[in-house]
Amino acid sequence: MERTEAELIAAVLKGDAASFEPFVQKYSPRVFATARRYARRESEVEDIAQEVWLKAFDKLKSFRGEAPFEHWLMRLTVRTCYDFLRGHQRNRELSFSDLSDPENDWLERFVAAPETASENVDAAKLLIERVMEKLSPPARLVITLLEIEDRSVKEIAEVTGWSVPLVKVRAFRARAEMRKILAKIEKDKYL
């Protein structure tokens, strides 16, 4: 008979580390999918996932069982991704010359006829990845959770540990930051 998650957690807390493996098997796909939103290189994604599981193992005592394990784990994952972003702040300047030819072509099409430029093309996906990489860590996190994953402000507050007003302020600033990056591309392109 399969053991429940509560039983497995109790076994891990008693010192049976092997009982942790079913969690790693079951939830790793979600952890990897989340990590891939914040890191591009596979080696970085794997580092984040490993860090998440080490933290989950070490902090398992703090899991009180009031919410599902998955929620607790995803909160840990998002926070680990945020720590990763803060620790890997790269050059945040993006200029028009950095863009590849397909990205430029897509922008040209967008300028010519915004409604006909499809978002479901690789160039658009590459461009948004590039723009996201240039955002500050809080801006990137909040845009990802609010705009891309379509989560509510309350959910974001729970996941990040920020207050609801702080999430709102950061969302406002993040949108402005993103527009500033796009404005810089426009300026480089046409001036």
Partner: protein, 101 residues
Amino acid sequence: MNLLELQKKLIAAARVNVPSERVPYAFEKRVMAFLTSRAVADHWALWARGLWRAAVSCVAAALLCGAWAFFNSTSNANADDLSQNFENTLLAAVDQNDQAQ
């Protein structure tokens, strides 16, 4: 260029681009091996910590005994010296021979 519209388009592009849930081969095994090896290392750390605590206790006990012996010997400076008594007892036969001659 309509920046607001561009922003919307790009966010829509990001929504369409759902990240893969692919897990690298044997990732679970690697994580579990690491966690288990760390648990073994933790046992050694526990043992080492115990040894250090024991060492500190021993040093403290030695210092206390040393201090007690030092102050005891200075306060009883005129009392019989154990080492002198021991030496007298051990060399008693030699002393007797010397006196007989």
